[in-house]
Symmetry: C2
Subunit: 369 residues, 2 copies
């Protein structure tokens, strides 16, 4: 038996006929390392409930290894990273959707904070009003420390990515083409900036051209990566409504921005609102809804992101984060932060003067709520 590059198996998942995210998830449930599926016996595979016969055949008889080796060379040359489903860097939120991709191709960097993500999507032919709202919301989300996820498309998507970057925030673009192929062409420069300061993701093999039927699949990743999806402008037949439907299925929050009655570009958003999406006027409407999900998660609190000025240092944020869930004494803070005592005291004084923390008897510090 040939010993292959372990990534080769992961790439192969994308080429097994009939194997989608749902089938893959069955393999992932059966094998701690899903790539073992390529080495399993037909009998073993046949025992997996609901796995289609064709997929079993496809796994058994897979023979496209030469193409994959070529893709692997290309990937390395192009500075593309591969995140297999089992990698710790694979986004946790995506791992739990019903049909996760076996692997993600990545340009740029994902970071831990990207799990606080909100998607902004909408019409490619957005109005000036729509683009303005997308920019405002992206800027607002960035200032709250949220990562803005979108699809790099014209109109709303592009406005959201660009504004998040401009505000010094994180943004993730999910493509319906190979991760090395930005689309549309006029967003090449934006693509480059996102790869440098954020992340570009795709589940499609390198070389995949942007094809219309890839986009609904791509949309499930946009919503899957996010705590909620904001639809800014959408006609009644917009792909954004597909994203919203997928978001609903994935248990994500759905937000929609209203527009004037009779504006065709707002009909989709209005329909979503009628169906229960939360009406969004400002970023506060989003944060208010999402905050409860984030509360109680150690070290992550909207309160922290919310009130600290953007120029607050990393160590200041760290101290305040430590105080979100418990009151702590100075010694404990020094120990847990790993920072020099003097610095901790200085930061605490600063935070206290600015009203972010308060000191209780016994030198116990707590975050102000």
């Amino acid at each position: 038996m040939t010993v292959r590059d372990p990534y080769a198996y992961w790439l192969a998942f994308g080429r097994v006929k009939g194997l989608g995210g749902i089938g893959f998830k069955k393999l992932a449930a059966r094998f701690a390392d899903p790539t073992e599926a390529f080495l399993a016996s037909a009998a073993e595979l046949a025992q997996i409930e609901g796995l289609h016969r064709d997929v079993v055949d496809g796994l058994m008889k897979f023979s496209g290894w030469d193409d994959i080796e070529e893709e692997l060379r290309h990937i390395r040359d192009a500075g593309i990273e591969i995140l297999p489903f089992t990698s710790p860097a694979y986004p946790e939120r995506l791992r739990v959707i019903p049909d996760p991709p076996p692997l993600l191709y990545l340009k740029g960097q994902l970071c831990a904070e990207d799990d606080r993500a909100v998607a902004i999507v909408g019409s490619r032919s957005a109005s000036e009003y729509g683009r303005r709202v997308a920019r405002d919301l992206a800027r607002g989300l960035a200032s709250f420390g949220f990562t803005v996820v979108s699809g790099l498309a014209r109109g709303i998507d592009g406005a959201a990515h660009a504004s998040a970057l401009q505000a010094g925030g994180r943004t993730v673009a999910v493509l319906g083409s190979g991760v090395e192929r930005p689309y549309p062409p006029e967003h090449e420069e934006l693509y480059r900036r996102i790869s440098e300061h954020g992340a570009v993701l795709s589940e499609f093999p390198v070389g995949t051209r942007p094809m219309a039927f890839n986009f609904p699949a791509r949309n499930r990743l946009i919503s899957g990566l996010s705590l909620g999806v904001v639809v800014v402008e959408a006609t009644e037949k917009s792909g954004s409504l597909i994203t919203a439907a997928l978001a609903l299925e994935q248990g994500r929050e759905i937000f929609a921005v209203p527009g004037e009655a009779g504006a065709s570009r707002s009909r989709g958003a209005h329909r979503l609102i009628r169906e229960g999406a939360k009406l969004v006027e400002t970023v506060d409407d989003i944060v208010e809804e999402i905050a409860p999900q984030l509360m109680g998660r150690a070290g992550i609190s909207t309160q922290v992101a919310r009130v600290l000025p953007p120029d607050a240092g990393e160590n200041t944020r760290k101290i305040l984060a430590l105080l979100q869930d418990n009151s702590l004494q100075v010694d404990q803070l020094i120990e847990r932060s790993g920072l020099p005592a003097a610095q901790v005291l200085e930061i605490l004084l600063d935070l206290e003067l600015q009203g972010f923390v308060r000191q209780s008897p016994g030198k116990l510090y707590a975050a102000e709520r």
Copy 2:
């Protein structure tokens, strides 16, 4: 004991200190003719649960009869009609609110169809967009046979009244001043047209000047007269939000028209939508919600109003109305409509060809849904 004009007692209700709609409703529950309260003994009145002691005193000691006689003369000279609570012409829908006015002053005419009413309210300083939507909705409601209720104010109210009239529909203005005192002054001409082709109502005695504190009371009549209230534009402190709150209390439907995020004039409507008001883009959104309330009421069906062309004859409407709730045979239709057999058959053929009814085996006709 002086024998007085029976209307004198009704007018007196409005002048008994401390007696509001809620107290009056207690009297109406106790006396088949509530004006008997003026002739009742203190002991009798004291038995009415929850009737305030001051009101009992006020009824017993009422002495303003001279002023009332003068008001009655004025009313007759000015062609104002009085609708006491017990009059069959008093709007049924208003009779059941928690605090109905003892009497209404009327200029113009109320008609039976006015119980299919929808209120359109909104900002006095409406935008051109808001006025356009108010006009469109009023025109649409008029074409569906709904009476448009509003408050004669500047902005949205005026646009709604004017458009309903222009579309040949019914409109009712409810004033916060005496019924003979239009306000604002620039709506005098509109007021005149409403009195001629619709109705102007007030619960305030003739001569009452338009005063700010009358308007919330007036608003409860606007919602009380209506199946639902549409808020077109409203700032966050708008009186229209009071109307919406009263409508909710009265069990009326609440509708709100969205606008652009960030438009201060739409903030009130957006708040209502977030709180559960139905988002309205077109008149269909209103009718769709209200239709179920009207279904099953003999001879009135939104379906009929909805689909039949405006030039359809009265008999055609009658036949279709008969078929709304049951399938009927030709003989039954002839009998129930009271129309000649030949005419019924002709109408049925017509309706069938236009797709409004379908024929089932056994010559059974049913309305298409």
